[in-house]
Symmetry: C2
Subunit: 404 residues, 2 copies
């Protein structure tokens, strides 16, 4: 297949591009390198020494003898160029990662709230309009989030895949309806993914676009079989308060001897997936698209759920590091249950990679190897959901002196 | 009250500004005059000879001895100026009309689809962010649309005001939940209002903003007590295929002797409200805002429902003009039932103005008086929902020779 990967330089996009290329697909990355530029603004870097995209692509050519194309483009603001690329490449599939993806970053300031909405909604909408205008019938797979459902809404019921069956009382009796699952996003970032869902529903209905929305859990892990082939292909590893996601952040904190930062009680239950499964899921999604005329297909891209405190305890026990309970910067329930349906990916043949000592060790290994690259002042999340929720300075934990 | 009216130069915004000023509120209009500029692009004009906004405001000062302020600003792109105006004016209420509001215009081209989404979502989101950033606790009333609900979803059940009670089956038995009514928008324009709803839900939940979303029906009529006081205050009257809404369009067509253009069978049932009730409803909404911490209040701003063909027949019978059945440029059901709840406005004291011969005559009178200003080539809708739905040239109806 000819595949465009939008946002193919990012944490999920890069390993996906390599995986699809390795599997024989003809891949072109569209990216404006915004993830690297945000790091410049935040004065932080990937813990792993990622190489410039040009060097990454040359290294991939060396080790695999396969070409990956690259177009440096901002799809949120360069619509005409985007439409021209789509018309020119005539892709069979498009994978859309090209959105600002950190909840804390989306809540930092008026400017980052606005950037997240403007960028994400325009990127998605421009892509949909470009498909309609060019008439290119590509299967579109979009990276959504489990966060669209919110947490705690369903009680003991498993979260279904996108659509919920409800009963409505009418004068003629009870009607059964299947509706898009009610949205309950927890941040401006998550909110943009709930808007995306409505864009997808409309363009599938009106224009017959074939769309799969992947409601992904929190990704952990760093390397895939492809990114591990050469150090120049290494994937990014975010540990900072804005972009570092919870399990990878714990592994890094343990590796450098920083207390594990638990927000609130740690009673939050979240869904997880390893980066190796992410890339497999993407291929399954674009190889099994819906038909034109179908509503968007929604798949829950998760393999397991864990309570945050359990993860912290596991890492703490294994690696002998303390847990620091910090005030929660987010407005969310202290604790919640979470049961998630992921039947569709299992039926498509996904064999989940689940949390294991071996994989934890791999993550710790990477974090240890590159610990000298860490800026400890960037570890704790400083973005808050509302004014007045800031963590007091005296609660911030210092990094112990380097013992290596 | 100190009130900002965003989009205060438009068809609903202008009479609302005058009404609120007349009632003693201190009104400032924020507008970028985009509605007039779109007319320039479409090479069409309001049938009524509306005056430049500066002249309108001077005339209002003359007849009422009251000042209305004006800031020429694009709130979708000039965030810093918007936040400065909000901080400076410290409004008690904000009425938000500042969105592209025509469904056919939103479906014309890739550019108008993109403009509608970019303008509407950024305008709404910038406003919400400005309220959070400045800490101004204004009651926000936003003009939504009945089109967010879609048509035909509810069968014989009345459409509730924003929220729907549903039952969900869980392992612990049936749970009852009140959810935002499922969205089923019929155009890119309507879709933007479904996105707005999710923005409102999030900012009410996270930041305690006090928001009322008014799901308005199709507005008809032209003048209010205030706009009728001086010809320089006259409200706009749109008759063109993009911006002319159905009942006003029929009145104008009858006045100039053009067959009434019914799309499809005319079996569509829609909700209506007279412009005089719109302005009353806006005042009721800002005088009765929700509390901080409440979910957004949703009010159905409608007073009656009619089937399109019944309206066409009524106008045809009264005024002796033919009905032309044209292919429907929209993707929608041929016919639908529609029952709408509007209990909240009735409880707040709204006394509906309903369709009557007198009001129809008033509209016809205005259309007849200004018929020489009409460009008959602009009457039929030429925007289509998908390629291939265009009305053939030989189905287009010529305007008869002027008989006056």
């Amino acid at each position: 297949m000819r595949v465009l990967v939008l946002g193919g330089d990012g944490f999920c996009g890069w390993p996906t591009s390599l995986y699809l290329s390795d599997k024989g697909h003809d891949v072109t990355i569209l990216d404006n390198l915004s993830r690297r530029k945000i790091d410049v603004d935040l004065e932080v870097e990937s813990l792993t020494p990622i190489r410039p995209l040009g060097e990454r692509l040359r290294a991939w050519k060396e080790v695999s003898d396969r070409e990956i194309g690259f177009v440096n483009i901002d799809i949120a603001t360069e619509y005409d160029r985007l439409a021209a690329v789509v018309a020119d490449q005539q892709p069979d599939a498009i994978v859309h990662f090209a959105e600002q993806r950190a909840a804390p970053y989306s809540m930092r300031t008026a400017a980052t709230k606005r950037y997240t909405v403007d960028n994400n909604i325009r990127a998605t909408h421009n892509l949909l309009v470009a498909l309609v205008e060019t008439g290119v019938d590509a299967a579109l797979a979009h990276l959504g989030t489990m966060g669209v459902y919110g947490y705690g809404w369903s009680g003991s019921a498993p979260i279904p895949e996108g659509y919920l069956t409800v009963k409505v009382t009418t004068p003629d009796g009870e009607l059964e309806r299947e509706i898009l699952h009610p949205a309950n996003p927890g941040s401006v970032y998550h909110m943009t993914k709930t808007l995306d869902q409505l864009l997808f529903s409309f363009y599938a209905k009106n224009d017959g676009l074939r769309i799969t929305d992947l409601h992904q859990g929190i990704v952990w892990g760093t390397q895939t079989d492809q990114t591990a082939r050469d150090v120049r292909l290494i994937n990014r590893f975010d540990y900072d308060g804005d972009y570092g996601t919870v399990l990878n952040r714990f592994l890094m904190q343990a590796a450098v001897g920083h207390p594990l930062t638990v927000h609130g009680t740690g009673g939050q239950t979240r869904a997880f997936i390893h980066i190796r499964d992410t890339v497999r899921c993407i291929e399954l999604a674009i190889e099994n698209p819906p038909q034109s005329g179908d509503r968007p297909r929604v798949l829950n891209q998760v393999t397991e759920t864990h309570q945050i405190l359990d993860l912290a305890k596991m890492v703490s026990d294994t690696m002998g590091v303390d847990i620091a309970y910090l005030p929660n910067p987010r407005r969310e329930a202290e604790a919640n249950d979470l049961i998630v349906t992921n039947d569709q990916f299992l039926a498509l043949g996904l064999e989940p990679t689940t949390l294991s000592d071996g994989l934890l060790a791999e993550g710790t290994e990477i974090a240890r190897r590159y610990r000298d690259r860490a800026d400890p002042s960037k570890i704790v999340s400083r973005s808050v959901w509302r004014q007045g929720m800031e963590t007091a300075e005296d609660l911030l934990t210092e990094l112990p002196a380097d013992e290596s």
